[in-house]
């Protein structure tokens, strides 16, 4: 069984099941204890002073609502307490390439970079990200649990500090006349043009699409990657996708599906769950979440390799603060992504502006996570380039 690349995991490598169990238990705890402890806020404010640190920080993130949630939850309170000046760069999308270019030029201008887990693994492989010693560099949970244990198997790379769990899932319009009152309930309804006619939007890359196609072609969930490793398996997945190819609009930016759904240009489409939350709850569009076979993924921080001592000291100081239990829970007030620490889950409260309970909108909520799929980082790191070539060739045909 191919495990996740996880230096802190047990050597036996049953990481999948463990990761899943942790995600589920996190969510369950969140549901039971949701909203009970709100007053912890000021408790962890007593920060150690930062010796020999720079007084500014260049942080790279995704822009938009996500970056905003980080500004609100991490950088504003930190700046208030320390007076540090923050410079935000919305370059996470091309962070890997830019970091490599900066590294080659010998002038890394970024201090802290927000990337998805697969990019973090790539950056770690390339020697562009610094290894992080979780127990020394990160804060313990309030009950004294070590950080490495609190994050658990979500630390999928030695260079990666996870912040949130997000999922790629489907949203569908609730007012499609052609469906005759039926609502899609399973991932396979995406492939069912007879009962659910209309256009769909899918991401213009093989990841997730290939897995969904195989699951709906009758492959068992835990055999998906074994099947996909064979040329026949790849063909099988492409053939299944081929049944709906003419009805698919392919997206490359996460904002596209919400827009296409709102315009009525597609009747269902995949995107990140936080984007759908904003379409449904903030913009009140007639859209609902499918959640079935949602694919969990992680987003978090990496520190570029080779920072000078004073900048590194500042980054470590901020990182320790920004990834502590309360801060991660605070972020969920602004966006519907689940905190990556086990200890943060019980602290997840209400949305800061809408005032609605956030727990039911988290991808890890038990009601949403009845059928989930775990992205296999190691497998995709090995096969991404090869499969992407095949997938793009298939698309171009």
């Amino acid at each position: 069984m191919a495990g996740l690349y996880c230096p802190v995991c047990n050597p036996k490598g049953e990481n999948y099941m463990k990761l899943k169990t942790i995600l589920m238990s996190t969510a369950a705890a969140g549901l039971m204890l949701g909203g009970t402890s709100v007053a912890v806020n000021s408790a962890s404010h007593g920060m150690a002073p930062c010796e020999g640190c720079t007084d500014s920080l260049t942080v790279v993130s995704w822009g938009g609502a996500y970056q905003n949630s980080q500004v609100k939850a991490y950088s504003e309170p930190y700046a208030e307490a320390t007076g540090v000046k923050f410079v935000w760069d919305e370059s996470s999308n091309e962070a890997v390439a830019k970091l490599r270019a900066m590294n080659e030029a010998g002038n890394v201008t970024w201090d802290l970079v927000d990337v998805v887990a697969s990019d973090a693994i790539r950056l770690c492989d390339e020697g562009l990200a610094m290894e992080i010693d979780a127990d020394n560099d990160l804060a313990d949970a309030p009950d004294g649990t070590k950080a490495s244990e609190d994050f658990g198997d979500l630390m999928v790379s030695g260079c990666f500090v996870p912040q949130i769990v997000y999922s790629t899932t489907f949203g569908y319009r609730t007012d499609v006349a052609d469906w005759g009152g039926k609502k899609p309930e399973s991932i396979c309804d995406v492939f069912d043009l007879e009962n659910f006619p209309g256009k769909r939007s899918l991401e213009k890359r093989p990841i997730n699409n290939m897995e969904w196609a195989l699951i709906c072609d009758g492959v068992a969930k835990d055999e998906v990657y074994d099947v996909l490793a064979t040329p026949e398996g790849v063909q099988k997945a492409l053939d299944k996708l081929g049944t709906i190819k003419d009805s698919v609009v392919w997206w490359s930016a996460g904002a596209e599906t919400p827009q296409l759904l709102a315009d009525g240009e597609v009747v269902m489409g995949s995107t990140y769950n936080g984007r759908l939350f904003s379409v449904i709850e903030e913009q009140k569009q007639p859209v609902a979440m499918l959640w079935d076979a949602q694919v969990f993924d992680l987003d978090g921080w990496i520190v570029p390799a080779g920072l000078p001592a004073d900048r590194l000291a500042r980054v470590k100081h901020f990182l320790k603060y920004a990834t502590d239990t309360q801060r991660l829970a605070d972020q969920a007030k602004y966006i519907s992504y689940g905190p990556a620490r086990k200890s943060s889950a019980p602290l997840v409260g209400k949305h800061a502006e809408l005032g609605i309970d956030m727990a039911p909108h988290m991808p890890t909520d038990p009601n949403n996570a009845k059928n989930t799929f775990l992205y296999n980082y190691e497998w995709w790191a090995d096969n991404r380039d090869d499969l992407d070539a095949k997938f793009q060739a298939w698309l171009a045909q």
Binding site: D125, E126, K390
Partner: protein, 423 residues
């Protein structure tokens, strides 16, 4: 001077201070040249540093492949004696060398980097290096082959070792082969399997679509440039602003506007349905395909056609047309025989501008091209920013550059580059 030449004597002409005139002149000219060079030095240096050198560096990446020999120096030497045709993985000596190399590489954290490089040619090899890197410190002395095989039986695969051996030289053609959908198989260079061929298709499509865009720019731009050049100043100024306004608007805004207009629930389809030209089920698909790319890019590149055309038309004297008409030519003959030939330099300049800009366009095809309207530049961007396969991106870029230069040469042969005029 004439006297000296006529008399045929060997008197050397000198300046007033006694130096030979020739020497003195040469010195003055040299000084002149040096001064000229000094004057352009800042610009020359700037272009050299910020334009020529980065391009040369990028082009060099398409063949550069030092990483294998640098990371696994001993293994590469040991592999020289191994014959892939034997059908068996290399022997203990190679694995011992691999162990030594890996120890150094893990300390310097370069082993995973090598893994990613090899993974472009052999899927699965990156995890081999990642896994082995974690366990290399715990290896015991002796029987390294078995120990490596215990970590992952991928080390016993002849295919993996063939890839390492093949990529050992510091210069490689693998990126160029990949960018023309070929690879080095057991018996020389062969085409990739059908389901992996994509780049040639994209090159051909990029060129054909760029030509289509250039032609539609000529067809749409010509009448507008004519109006601009011939209407009274007040009207033509207003028209000029209308041409330039979109030129100053953000590219993304214009591309998104086309989405709103062209999509199936968009403005154009809504109007067509409303006036009853098409029914609701038969809405036209005008975006996320080739049509979308052509429409949006024609609009974006139109000013680059109109402006050179306009500046050329402005210089055509109206008396030519009047003269032709006074001699009895019809309107059409006047236009076709007199006016049009005079505008050809403008068409040439506009076409070169539009075509070269179009061939390297990337953001608009990405947004409105769907699957049938994407360009080769989209794949280059993918390899630069996502897959980090800069070697392949450089090879694709080199081919694109050579294609443009070749087309330029053909153009020069057929039309003549002297015939191009920007005004």
């Amino acid at each position: 001077m004439a006297d000296a030449a006529v008399s045929g004597t060997k008197t050397v002409l000198t300046t007033h201070d006694g130096k030979p005139l020739k020497v003195s002149l040469a010195k003055a000219l040299r000084r002149e040249k040096l001064r000229a060079l000094m004057l352009i030095a800042p610009l020359l240096l700037f272009i050299l540093l910020s334009f020529i050198m980065p391009i040369a560096d990028m082009l060099f990446r398409s063949v550069e492949n030092g990483i294998v020999a640098e990371t696994l120096p001993k293994t590469v030497v040991a592999l020289k004696n191994w014959d892939p045709a034997s059908g068996e993985a290399p022997g203990e000596d190679v694995f011992a060398a691999l162990h030594d190399d890996m120890k150094v590489a893990v300390a310097e954290k370069t082993h995973t980097r090598l893994g990613s490089r090899l993974n472009y040619d052999q899927p699965g090899i990156s995890s081999l290096f990642r896994k082995s890197g974690r366990r290399i410190g715990r290896m015991k002395e002796g029987d390294y082959k078995q120990q490596f095989l215990d970590i992952d039986d991928g080390w016993g695969s002849v295919e993996n070792w063939t890839t390492i051996k093949r990529l050992s030289p510091t210069i490689t053609d693998s990126y160029f082969l990949a960018s023309v959908d070929a690879e080095r198989g057991a018996d020389g260079i062969e085409r990739k399997p059908e389901n992996e061929r994509i780049y040639i298709l994209l090159f051909v499509r990029t060129i054909l679509l760029s030509m289509a865009i250039t032609v539609s720019c000529i067809l749409l731009g010509y009448p507008i440039a004519y109006l601009l050049a011939n209407l009274p100043v007040r009207t033509s100024n207003l028209l000029m602003i209308l041409v330039l306004l979109p030129f100053w608007t953000s590219l993304l805004v214009r591309t998104s506007a086309w989405k709103v207009l062209l999509q199936q629930q968009g403005v154009i389809n809504d109007v067509l349905v409303w006036i009853g030209l098409i029914d609701d089920a038969g809405r036209l698909v005008m975006i996320n395909n080739m049509t979308g790319t052509i429409i949006a890019m024609t609009h974006i590149l139109l000013p680059f056609m109109i402006l050179p055309l306009f500046s050329v038309m402005k210089t055509i004297s109206p008396s030519y047309v009047r003269a032709a008409k006074s001699m009895g030519a019809t309107d059409w003959t006047t236009f076709w025989r007199i006016y049009f030939p005079n505008t050809v330099p403008g068409i040439g300049a506009g076409s070169i501008l539009v075509f070269i800009l179009a061939i390297g366009y990337y953001i608009t095809p990405e947004l409105v091209g769907g699957t049938s309207g994407v360009f080769i530049s989209n794949r280059i961007a993918y390899h630069i920013s996502s897959s980090l396969n800069w070697g392949l991106a450089a090879a694709l870029g080199t081919i694109l550059l050579v294609l443009v230069l070749a087309l330029y040469w053909v153009y020069d042969r057929i039309v003549g580059i002297d015939n191009v005029k920007l005004g």
